[in-house]
């Protein structure tokens, strides 16, 4: 999922200071899974902001609501009845959701409450690691299911590099060498011959190299 982390409270206070009524919006999808912006986190942030503002002597009204998703206009539309009661919106969704809100409610200032980090998966409860960078041309079939774009610091197509030591990347002992992982996988699958196939230089255009990307499904779009 898309992972995110809450911004420091002092930054959020600076955003909401000029306003009297805030609508704090959570998202029930990715940010819920990584415990950054779901219903519970909305409750925690609203409480924390309320207390911090009270302490600073300012009375602010924070209304809480969590949408199923903020990246689909149909869900954002559900906010119409409650939007007049707010001077500003603070969204705990990823950047996609924040922008969707801003596009729909052009006359309301919209602020992000989280820093969107990466597309990743859970390693264990409470630990999420980057797995995919959306390069647009998935090569996981050739690399035994380990992504050299997302997990190799140098995004090598034919690794490892000389910095691979004891299965760790030279940038940090906490980072595994992706190509070591790929080799181990290919060995386990008895596909070590595939390692000898040289992968050509990657075309980065589908990866965003040629500008913002869009998908249009002719069968679904009216």
């Amino acid at each position: 999922m898309i992972t995110a982390e809450r911004k420091p409270l002092e930054e959020l206070i600076q955003y909401i200071k000029p306003f009297k009524r805030i609508l704090l919006l959570g998202c029930n999808e990715c940010v819920t899974v990584c415990a950054a912006g779901g219903r519970k986190e909305v409750g925690l942030l609203a409480s924390g902001l309320q207390m911090a503002m009270l302490k600073a002597g300012s009375n602010i009204e924070i209304r809480q609501h969590t949408l199923e998703r903020q990246c689909d206009p149909e869900y954002v539309e559900e906010l119409v009845p409650m939007i007049d009661g707010a001077d500003a919106i603070m969204s705990m969704a990823c950047g996609c959701g924040v922008q969707q809100l801003a596009m729909r409610f052009k006359d309301k200032p919209v602020f992000p409450a989280v820093n969107t980090k990466f597309m990743g998966a859970s390693e264990k409860q409470g630990v999420w690691a980057e797995r995919c960078q959306g390069c647009g041309n998935c090569l996981l079939g050739a690399t035994g299911g380990i992504c050299p774009i997302a997990r190799c610091a140098k995004q090598l197509m034919n690794g490892p590099c000389g910095g691979s030591t004891s299965g760790k990347c030279e940038i940090s002992e906490d980072v595994e060498c992706a190509w070591q992982l790929i080799w181990d996988r290919l060995k386990a699958l008895n596909l070590t011959d595939r390692y000898l196939d040289i992968m050509p230089a990657k075309d980065w255009r589908p990866a965003g190299g040629s500008g913002p990307r869009k998908i249009i499904r002719e069968d679904l779009a009216e």
């Binding site: 519970k40 409750g43 925690l44 409480s47 309320q50 207390m51 911090a52």
Partner: protein
């Protein structure tokens, strides 16, 4: 605030801490009336939101009392509670409330005197710290 009487909320697990509180009662051990006990099935049931809301509603101090390490009736609820308490302590500092106002304590069901001692110590610590900044702001 003169004559400040702290309001302390104690989330006590049913199997150990609440029973310890009961034992303190049976043994007629005095402890301050400032401590309001809330019984929960396990200290691991406590959520960050419960703790933060307690302060939002004007508590001066909060503690979570669970079983002794390794003896949680539900295996490891008390270790989860300890991690959550540590997390909320940090969050409180961000908000501007002293982290010492929130503590995690462990005791066994038979430790009536420990319950009374913890209640007394926490009350005195909070009395010295003064009213929570939120309670002070609400009073204005």
């Amino acid at each position: 605030m003169e004559n400040f009487e702290p309001v302390i909320v104690a989330f006590c697990c049913h199997y150990c801490a609440y029973t310890a509180a009961d034992m303190a009662g049976s043994q007629r051990l005095p402890y301050p009336t400032n401590v309001k006990i809330i019984r929960i099935p396990c200290s691991g049931k406590i959520d960050a939101l419960h703790l933060v809301k307690a302060f939002e509603k004007g508590a001066d101090g909060v503690y979570v009392a669970g079983c002794l390490e390794g003896d949680c009736h539900f295996k490891n609820g008390n270790t989860k509670a300890a991690r959550r308490v540590a997390y909320v302590k940090q969050y409180l500092e961000e908000i501007g409330i002293e982290g010492e106002r929130l503590e995690m304590v462990n005791m066994s069901a038979g430790m009536g005197d420990r319950f009374a001692q913890t209640a007394t110590e926490m009350t005195e610590k909070i009395r010295k710290l003064g009213p929570s900044p939120i309670r002070a702001a609400m009073a204005v």
